[in-house]
């Protein structure tokens, strides 16, 4: 009878001690907008386009899983609101005209700001 009372109390105290112990651990969070995380070079953020290198081969358009994200006619158009940042286009561009950047804060009030459109040489 007494044992059935003591056992749960013992376990509860063990749990509480674990919680207390965690209070003294080092901080794991980051105050985000003020402090930012240091990103690795591999990080896949916004795609950057270099028109001087592009040869208009359209391979990037062919490998892009989000269809319609890249459109190449007279201009090179990329719609970041559709892009899933997989970097397939960067990997398969034969001339290295596309690069990944570490930019990831793309939220905006205006959808048109997310469409990048530039003429090709």
């Amino acid at each position: 009878m007494i044992k059935s009372f003591i056992y749960p109390i013992k376990e509860l105290i063990k749990g509480l001690l674990t919680v207390l112990k965690n209070g003294f651990k080092e901080k794991v969070t980051l105050e985000y907008p003020e402090k930012k995380k240091i990103l690795n070079n591999n990080f896949r953020g916004k795609i950057k386009y270099d028109k001087t290198k592009c040869i208009k081969c359209k391979i990037c358009q062919r490998v892009c899983p989000a269809k319609g994200t890249i459109e190449i006619n007279e201009t090179f158009k990329i719609n970041y609101s559709q892009c899933i940042f997989c970097a397939n286009c960067v990997e398969f561009c034969p001339k290295g005209a596309l690069k990944i950047t570490k930019e990831y804060e793309l939220a905006t009030n205006n959808k048109n700001e997310l469409i990048f459109n530039e003429g090709i040489n």
Binding site: K14, V28, R44, V63, P65, K67
Partner: protein, 379 residues
């Protein structure tokens, strides 16, 4: 009168009531609607209604090339993307008869086992949150964050990896990262011990989970349930042991099995599985550290040119059970058909059998313990 999801009316006694749990319920881990018939607080019947998270993964494949479909595959189960990638890629590697280099095999095993831990940690935190405990969520996320940071540095993304490629992996793993993984795996057992101190013998947790939601062996096999849910019933079935893929032959690990599959023993199974995964991680990092000069990580197949022919099945023991990807190829760059067999789908169907007869407040304790994730069910 009682109405089911198809609008069919059946006659019931006066004292039953029908309520909707979900689709917008914080504990359904996605969007699942459960039509629950109650008598007082007792559950008489549950009808799971799925499809709220359907994204057309299988249809999408038909209009995309094999390469274009690759980044999408990670999203079949976004908590354990590596497993989905592996199932898809191994099916294609079978079709084009490629054998991947040994280092790639080790890297794939390492990443998948880390993925298993990260997914289980999220499950553990959220499950306890469903039961009303808030602190474990923060503690499990500390460790999970370490894994995701490692993944981010290795693959470039925290959850949508796009890291495996046909014939290997995309990037080599650096020594500094391996040392970080080693450090993580050394500290991980201490963290698991902490969770166990906090949870396993906690009287409230035990009253809420022990002998609640019992899944019998017969029901489990009838519903084709796999993974930890099945092993908790005492059936030893794990693809890593039954037909070892990659390098699971060379690794030392055991597959934990239970006796009665109630919510508590399913929890124990997952805790034990994390410990075993940690052993595998340790062995893989040791091998990779001693073979750091080996640079061969893929077979340099050009993914733009693959045009497989025939049918193939890729399978993997994922976090939630047996995950299969069936591909029917027709010699062009587009597949004819891709079919996913996802373990959560089967577990969802069994919810009526498992939870019938228990109280409504137990429903989330049962549902959570099955580790169901909705994107995988609906895909």
């Amino acid at each position: 009168m009682m109405k089911d999801s198809n609008g069919i009316m059946t006659k019931t006694s006066e004292h039953t009531m029908q309520i909707n749990v979900g689709p917008q319920h914080p504990s359904t881990h996605g969007v699942l609607r459960m039509l629950v018939t109650l008598s007082g607080e007792q559950i008489i019947q549950i009808e799971p209604i799925i499809g709220y998270l359907h994204r057309g993964m299988e249809k999408m494949a038909e209009t995309r090339t094999y390469l274009q479909y690759l980044p999408i595959v990670d999203r079949v189960d976004y908590l354990s993307g590596f497993f989905c990638s592996y199932a898809y890629i191994s099916a294609i590697e079978n079709l084009i008869n490629t054998d991947i280099p040994i280092k790639a095999k080790y890297i794939r095993t390492l990443t998948m086992e880390m993925n298993r831990i990260s997914s289980h940690l999220l499950w553990l935190g959220c499950y306890l949150l469903d039961l009303g405990a808030t602190s474990p969520l923060f503690y499990t996320f500390i460790e999970r964050e370490k894994i995701l940071n490692i993944f981010e540095d290795l693959t470039g993304s925290r959850m949508m990896y796009n890291y495996y490629t046909f014939g290997g992996v995309k990037r080599d793993i650096e020594k500094e990262l391996l040392i970080r993984i080693k450090k993580f795996s050394n500290e991980f057992l201490k963290a698991v011990q902490e969770y166990e101190d906090l949870i396993t013998n906690n009287p409230i947790f035990i009253t809420r989970t022990k002998n609640i939601g019992i899944l019998s062996k017969e029901d489990a096999t009838e519903y084709s349930i796999t993974g930890a849910n099945l092993r908790a019933c005492g059936i030893q079935k794990d693809l890593r042991k039954d037909s070892p893929y990659l390098i699971y032959n060379n690794l030392e690990f055991s597959v934990p099995i239970g006796t009665i599959s109630d919510s508590h023993s399913r929890y124990i199974m997952r805790i034990k599985e994390m410990k075993e995964s940690n052993k595998i991680i340790n062995q893989c990092t040791d091998w990779l550290l001693s073979n750091i000069e080996d640079n061969e990580i893929n077979t340099k197949i050009n993914p733009l040119t693959i045009k497989p022919n025939g049918t193939s099945l890729g399978e993997v023991e994922s976090t939630r059970g047996l995950l299969q990807c069936y591909i029917e190829a027709n010699g062009t760059e587009f597949p004819n058909r891709i079919k996913w067999r996802t373990p959560s789908f089967y577990a969802t169907q069994a919810i009526n059998t498992i939870a019938k007869g228990f109280m409504l407040p137990d429903l989330m304790a049962i549902f959570g313990s099955l580790d169901i994730i909705m994107p995988e069910v609906d895909r």
